[in-house]
Amino acid sequence: MTPPPKPTSSFPWLILPPAGVLIVLFGVPLLLVLAVSFASRGTYGGVEWALTFANYTSIADPLYLRIFWRSLWLAVATTAICLVMGFPLAYVIARAPKRWQGLLLFLVIIPFWTNFLVRTYAWMFILRTEGLLNQALLSAGLIHEPLNILFTDWAVLIGLVYGYLPFMVLPLYAALERLDRSLVEAAWDLYARPVQVFTKVVLPLSRPGVIAGCVLVFIPSLGAYVTPDLLGGARTMMVGNLIQHQYLVVRDWPFGSALSFVLMAGVLAAVLYYLRAGGARSLT
């Protein structure tokens, strides 16, 4: 690490505006949600200020635990698939001639130009029974009956991988681009097999990128809400949908707030554990 430039004043004034924004727009609402999570719901909804822990104890219901479990494995699967798909892509981009790299990265972020909701709707048209995917597979003779993908877990998984792949590719690219080529060449010179070059040289050196990419993909997929709602057909929920359902359908804000806090605590614990176990060394 290079030493920071000499501070002009002992107090970091520049930190104040972002810290203020964070406290007002993030800290205060978070405290409100925390307070509501200990309240009770009224008959038609709304919040009644009768202190209770019931909202937290009722999360232990197997009904809700199953949703947390489902969200967890969908998020883990999404992260794993993004990693497997994103790594070669990032590697190719990082190894491409310099003049191509800008264009290739540009292609990775082009989807962000369109609203996520619109892109998710587009997937509905691709995946449905008479959609593009089935038409293509049918006319190629690969299948004889249209696949039933839309409104299944597969559709949700496809949507999540599609949505979050760029978040995996960008940090991986950043790590791979800095990777010292001479180390890879040295491995070849020392008769390492291709697998060994990858596992002993490339992968360890790109570890900060892998960790950053996994965290960036895992967290939003765990709380995903639009994708399971539209591509899953509102048939099954992820925890994000369960929270939305509490707020906007059954009007049980206190329970929705408790769910939000449990989710946040879970994510925080998982990420801290992951960073400690997996990569604190390589991040420092």
Binding site: Y44, G45, Y64, N148, F151, A234, L242, H245, V249
Partner: protein, 339 residues
């Protein structure tokens, strides 16, 4: 926002010149005819911003969440009674809504607002089954078809707790307002068993699912299914013999509205026979305005799926507020959706 900008523009503060007002309309998705809104904006110099919701419960949740800033909302019957109890609605000045005179007598003063103090009838319809006659035979006449294993994965249900439980309750010969725990539990059990056959729960795009052939049977609202039928003639609508829901959507003004007069002008405008006819022609739901029925095309005015005959009306039931039992409904709906 618009009002603020307009107020800053030169001339906006001139004496005697009315400041441009922006009305915020909160309504069902796919429910407003854009050209009608344009007409209103041009005639009265009032801008209308539309926002949409997908169920009465979502409307209530957003209003409770302090979604202030809306002026005109479009709740259904039972939600009007809840909103009145919650003291969220403003009293209307009927003198400012002369077109109320065109509303059918039997649609005025319904159980939820006996004197139309807070609500003006707007559009009404029924809940039944839309089906694709190319894929479904014989033509269904009972809710039981939605439990028919032959149509596994070809069924869509409304994403609406009262409608879905109402359907299951009526299918078992019960009232769709049943609040007894045992009846609710048995309805839930039947819905759980049905879930394996259901492709999706949606209140918003099932007309497209029917048209594209994605589903063969859709639990849905009359007008939306008639719009699908207009695109694909093999799509038909039936109110099952066990009976279904009759509902009426209403125009209300929120107590928090700062533009109540303009809001009532807008409500009155929507009930103008010409305007109401245009809306019904487009959205294919029956207008509460008696005059409007004389102005819509014959194929709509005489369409039994849009204006149901007495034989159908007699087996329909209104959804009513179930009071405390709403918590049991909410819980059962969550369990069904989570499964």
């Amino acid at each position: 926002m618009f009002a603020v900008l307009a107020a800053c523009s030169p001339g906006g503060s001139e004496q005697g010149k009315a400041k441009p007002v922006t009305l915020h309309l909160f309504t069902w998705s796919d429910y407003t005819e854009e050209t009608v809104v344009r007409q209103f904006e041009e005639r009265f110099g009032i801008k209308v911003v539309t926002d949409t919701f997908g169920s009465n419960e979502e409307l209530l949740a957003k209003l409770q969440g302090g979604a202030a800033g809306y002026d005109v909302i479009v709740p259904s019957d039972y939600m009007v009674s809840i909103l009145i109890k919650q003291k969220l609605l403003a009293e209307l000045d009927q003198a400012k809504i002369p077109n109320l005179a065109h509303v059918y007598k039997h649609l005025k003063g319904l159980y939820y607002d006996p004197k139309n103090t807070y609500s003006v009838p707007y559009l009404w319809g029924t809940t039944g089954i839309g089906y694709n006659a190319d894929l479904v035979s014989p033509p269904p006449d009972s809710w039981q078809v939605l439990w028919d294993k032959r149509y596994k994965g070809k069924i869509s249900l409304l994403n609406d707790e009262r409608e879905v439980f109402g359907m299951a309750l009526r299918a078992a010969g019960e009232s769709l307002n049943a609040a007894e725990p045992a009846k609710l539990a048995s309805a839930k059990a039947r819905l759980m068993a049905q879930k394996a056959l259901v492709k999706t729960y949606t209140s918003e795009n099932y007309d497209q699912l029917l048209v594209s052939g994605e589903v063969a049977l859709a639990h849905g609202w009359s007008g939306t299914i008639m719009r699908a039928a207009a695109e694909r003639p093999s799509i038909k609508y039936v109110v099952p013999k066990e009976g279904g829901t009759i509902w009426q959507d209403n125009l209300c003004v929120l107590k928090t509205s700062t533009h109540r007069d303009e809001a009532m002008m807008f409500i009155n405008f929507l009930l103008e026979p010409q305007v109401a006819a245009l809306i019904t022609t487009k959205v294919k739901y029956a207008s509460a305005s008696e005059e409007a029925r004389l102005l819509v095309p014959k194929e709509i005015a005489q369409n039994p799926s849009i204006y149901p005959p007495e034989t159908v009306l007699s087996r329909l039931e209104w959804i009513k507020d179930v009071g405390e039992a709403i918590k049991a409904y909410d819980r059962a709906w969550t369990e069904l959706k989570v499964k």
